[in-house]
């Protein structure tokens, strides 16, 4: 009756591999409604708010003052909706990890893939790919729809103009990497509400706090805020950035800083994941 070897079916040779973890993470991400809601919110908000902003600009253009005309950036205004899109993508990034802890699924996940960095890396790749595809689609759609609305009323932009393609592509990249920051924060904090609060605080509240300080202190710090980086990335000129009350890094340098945030959050999260009991 007592068997010496386990009575398993066919155990393949070798060992479990990264593609298995990737496919599993994709199955998990696509099989919950929150993913659909977040993507839908990002698309509707990202494009819809751009439509509102450009329509309003087109209808009031004839009354625009000389400063407004001088500062006008048709690319940046068409990408206004990304301000909303970043929240939706960020929430999706948070949920990708925090839902595992909130529901207890993390124990099943780590039982199936005990090497924790593999789980985190698989989530980064799967979420990152989805976020990039959605964000770039939103950014390009918002740009083209926005220019069509502005056309005939205000100056418009084309992708071949200096800085325009960079701003549109940059808008999608900004959302994606910000989403990865959110995923990293969730790996550190592990609670959905706590992580979303932290994310929103960094994105929306911190700029207000920094702006309240005298310029001598506020300006050097303000450059490092993700919101400032995003505004610079989606504008074609430094003056066109929405948050022009704060000086910003040049777009690609700002993007480098943002990437550093994402890497830092994910590395700290990964180390904590290895150390802590789920």
């Amino acid at each position: 009756m007592v068997a010496t070897a386990p009575v398993v079916g066919t155990v393949p040779t070798g060992r479990q591999h990264f593609t298995g973890a990737l496919r599993a993470e994709w199955t998990k991400l696509r099989s919950v409604r929150s993913t659909l809601w977040c993507v839908a919110a990002a698309v509707v908000g990202g494009i819809g708010i751009g439509i509102l902003a450009t329509s309003s600009e087109a209808s009031t253009w004839r009354n625009a003052g000389i400063i407004e005309v001088a500062l006008f950036d048709p690319t940046s205004i068409s990408l206004t909706g990304l301000l909303f899109g970043q929240l939706a993508i960020g929430v999706l990034g948070v949920l990708t990890m925090s839902a595992e802890y909130g529901t207890g699924t993390i124990r099943a996940t780590l039982g199936a893939v005990p090497r924790r960095p593999v789980v985190l890396l698989a989530k980064v790749v799967v979420f990152g790919t989805l976020a990039l595809a959605v964000s770039e689609a939103i950014s390009f759609a918002a740009f083209f729809i926005g220019q069509a609305i502005l056309s005939g009323s205000t100056p418009t932009a084309t992708l071949s103009q200096p800085g325009v393609a960079r701003a549109v592509v940059g808008g999608g990249l900004y959302l994606t990497v910000l989403g990865l920051v959110a995923l990293g924060l969730a790996t550190i904090i592990r609670h959905t509400a706590g992580t979303i609060f932290t994310f929103v605080a960094i994105l929306l509240i911190l700029p207000l706090v920094v702006a309240a300080f005298p310029a001598k202190y506020g300006h050097p710090v303000g450059k490092f805020l993700p919101a400032t980086i995003g505004a610079a990335m989606t504008a074609t000129t430094a003056r066109g950035a929405h948050q022009d009350f704060l000086p910003s890094f040049p777009p690609w340098r700002g993007f480098g800083v943002l990437c550093a945030y994402a890497v830092a959050a994910l590395v700290v999260g990964g180390l904590l994941m290895i150390r802590r009991d789920p």
Partner: protein
């Protein structure tokens, strides 16, 4: 099989598991028994590599869990009923797990059929009853057709039919040659399911033996004796070192001496016996007796009453005194 050696886990200043060593062999159901809060779940999580032991270690099929090449094909676990995203369907939950270990899609439907959830496979797990959730957890454990299975309180929340189903399943899995490790705080459940028992209290090993032996060693094993001369017999038994208590309807309940010895003693003294019945202790009694000194929060702090005569509880008891 599972081998735990010197497993120790602290949570702050609380010792959850203390120098615990045991084996779980193939082809049998090993019951993991202890009062609530005695460290059973913590131990199971350490087997799974989820909780890191502060000292000691545990291997499955000779390797730490993390080093298993295909974890789900070697170990299946029902750790907690709530390890499932409420918004995900049963099929998708299992399919995601299957993909990590290259388990074919057909196996997902197979285990869902096995646990009787085929008809609700596409429903969101959040809509499931406690019993259905438990069955889904069991389906997850069976997914990789593993040789080692862990079940943490598998009958919790199940109706009598479900309990019987789990019991039958565990027996069958063991009969197929698998190592089945199942925790419970219910001794009666283990009596019907387990071949072997690992008993812990306050994170320490109290007993590690076959179920039958566990019962046999219980101090509550007694003999019921009826005689027309109870006073004389009581005096003789007492003089021989046995304990005698009056039972109901005039019978005597004798502990500390087996039926044969009592019969011989009575014959020597020419005392007639009208009844001589060994009373098997219930497993629940044996469990209560063993864990009495190691229950986390006991009402009576005045000290053990009689447990000092047995080996194992004294170990647990004296350790508490040392700290």
């Amino acid at each position: 099989m599972i081998q735990a050696r010197g497993l120790t886990k602290h949570y702050g200043s609380t010792v959850a598991v203390n120098d615990l060593s045991f084996d779980v062999g193939a082809g049998q159901v090993t019951g993991f028994l202890g009062p609530n809060g005695s460290g059973k779940s913590t131990t199971m999580r350490m087997v799974m590599g989820l909780d890191r032991p502060d000292a000691g270690g545990v291997t499955v099929n000779g390797r730490p869990y993390r080093a298993l090449p295909w974890p789900l094909r070697e170990v299946g676990a029902l750790l907690e009923s709530k390890a499932i995203h409420p918004g995900r369907s049963a099929t998708n939950h299992l399919w995601a797990l299957a993909q990590t270990n290259d388990i074919p899609r057909a196996r997902v439907d197979e285990v869902l059929e096995l646990v009787g959830l085929s008809s609700v496979a596409g429903k969101r797990a959040g809509k499931f009853s406690l019993g259905m959730t438990q069955r889904l957890g069991i389906a997850g454990a069976l997914l990789g057709d593993p040789g080692v299975l862990l079940f943490d309180e598998p009958v919790n929340g199940l109706d009598p039919e479900g309990i019987l189903w789990v019991r039958t399943l565990l027996r069958r899995l063991a009969a197929e040659g698998r190592a089945v490790f199942v925790s419970s705080h219910l001794m009666s459940e283990m009596a019907l399911t387990a071949d072997h028992l690992v008993v812990i209290g306050r994170g320490r090993l109290i007993a590690d033996q076959p179920v039958a032996q566990f019962v046999a060693q219980s101090s509550h094993r007694s003999v019921r004796v009826r005689t027309p001369r109870p006073e004389d017999l009581s005096a003789a038994l007492f003089a021989a070192g046995a304990r005698v208590e009056p039972g109901d309807d005039g019978a005597l309940v004798v502990t500390g001496m087996d039926a044969a010895a009592i019969g011989d003693l009575a014959a020597e003294r020419a005392i007639a016996l009208h009844e001589l019945t060994p009373q098997a202790a219930s497993l629940e009694d044996a469990f209560m007796e063993l864990t009495r000194s190691s229950v986390e929060f006991r009402a009576d702090e005045s000290g053990p009453t009689g447990t000092h005569v047995h080996g194992a509880p004294t170990v647990a008891g004296s350790a508490e005194v040392e700290r």
